[in-house]
Subunit: 207 residues, 2 copies
């Protein structure tokens, strides 16, 4: 096997390190966060760090860098509390990736991409119409990660929207039926296919 | 679309909520964490919350529940500082899932599964021999998430091991070449295939 040491990583060329470190932890979730500014401008941005935090209460977390522009998503969420999380499906990856372009705050990514916003059940933040699984979320707290000056956002999952054919009897959403993608590194989009679902693991008896 | 409201989620049957909330945020990374106790017992456990935190310094994060047994991984990492992160590949999913069975701390999951431990470059924690991408990590800090009494572990990625055929010229590891899987919910294992890799997104000029 090839080996890259701590010393190699620390002295590495910046783009090489960005690609390597972003891809070495495995696949990441692929979501678009929809939010609105105080002036009513809709914002849409791709995030690969959204992660399950717990199911009771129903919580998710994601990481932002508030010290680096563009930080529209962060400021919208902290000031307005409500935002949406929209799964990216395989038909939408090119436009989803384009939301990472650095537009000024007054430009809505909904205008610069094919995505259409929609408002559901009076929730104050925009959803992505073409997304197959969508969450209405509420900001709860933020934790400053001092090791690299990032912030972990903790939010409550309030509402879930999905098509009936994705869900199984025990509440599990089968993501490959929704064509939800996964992210490899900063810029690779991959389509997973279910191999197997296992039962709750119990210890083997010693023979 | 189907709609599940906040009220539905809060009053839902426990297992249904576990499956729904664990699957609604998208795919998760699939890794085995290898660690060692003070008594030298090797521990191996599947984790789906490992996420990229930043590339300079090279950091990852993951979530643990130290208040709930089994917590062997957590106590080993906090007391011994060093642990490994090993990608799960599609040939190993059944045994990887079995590491979630609740064995007593004195039982090593390496003995109860087909996985073999190996020690590389004098690193003090065990790697998984059959894993195709492996990280040597060092505990840096922990943050208590008070909203659900979990802990975010922040760690430095010190060393990376991989096969040469996975890496591209710009440092990007192509995960489908390593047969790395992604996790859907608590117990679904999916194999992704790369669709496309995009360039750094730049704003479109207004016409």
């Amino acid at each position: 096997m090839e080996h890259i040491s701590k010393k190699n990583i620390d002295s590495m060329e910046k783009i090489f390190r960005l690609n390597l470190i972003n891809s070495c932890t495995g696949y990441k979730s692929a979501n678009l966060i929809g939010s609105r500014s105080d002036n009513g401008i809709e914002n849409l941005a791709v995030f690969s760090s959204i992660t399950h935090l717990g199911s009771n209460p129903s919580l998710l977390g994601f990481v932002v860098r508030p010290t680096i522009v563009p930080r529209d998503t962060y400021s919208n969420i902290v000031s307005n509390k409500f935002f949406t999380v929209n799964h990216i499906n395989s038909d939408d990856i090119e436009d989803a990736h384009h939301t990472s372009a650095r537009y000024p705050a007054k430009v809505s990514e909904f205008e610069m991409t094919k995505f259409e916003s929609e408002y559901l059940k009076n929730f104050p933040a925009p959803f992505v119409k073409s997304s197959n699984i969508k969450l209405a979320c509420e900001f709860l707290n933020e934790y400053h990660i001092k090791e690299n000056d990032t912030v972990l956002i903790v939010a409550k999952i309030n509402d879930i929207f999905y098509r009936k054919e994705y869900i199984e009897n025990d509440g599990w959403l089968r993501l490959d039926k929704a064509k939800t993608v996964a992210i490899n590194g900063l810029d690779g989009y991959a389509l997973p296919k279910l191999i197997e679902r296992y039962k709750y693991a119990k210890p083997k008896k010693n023979e």
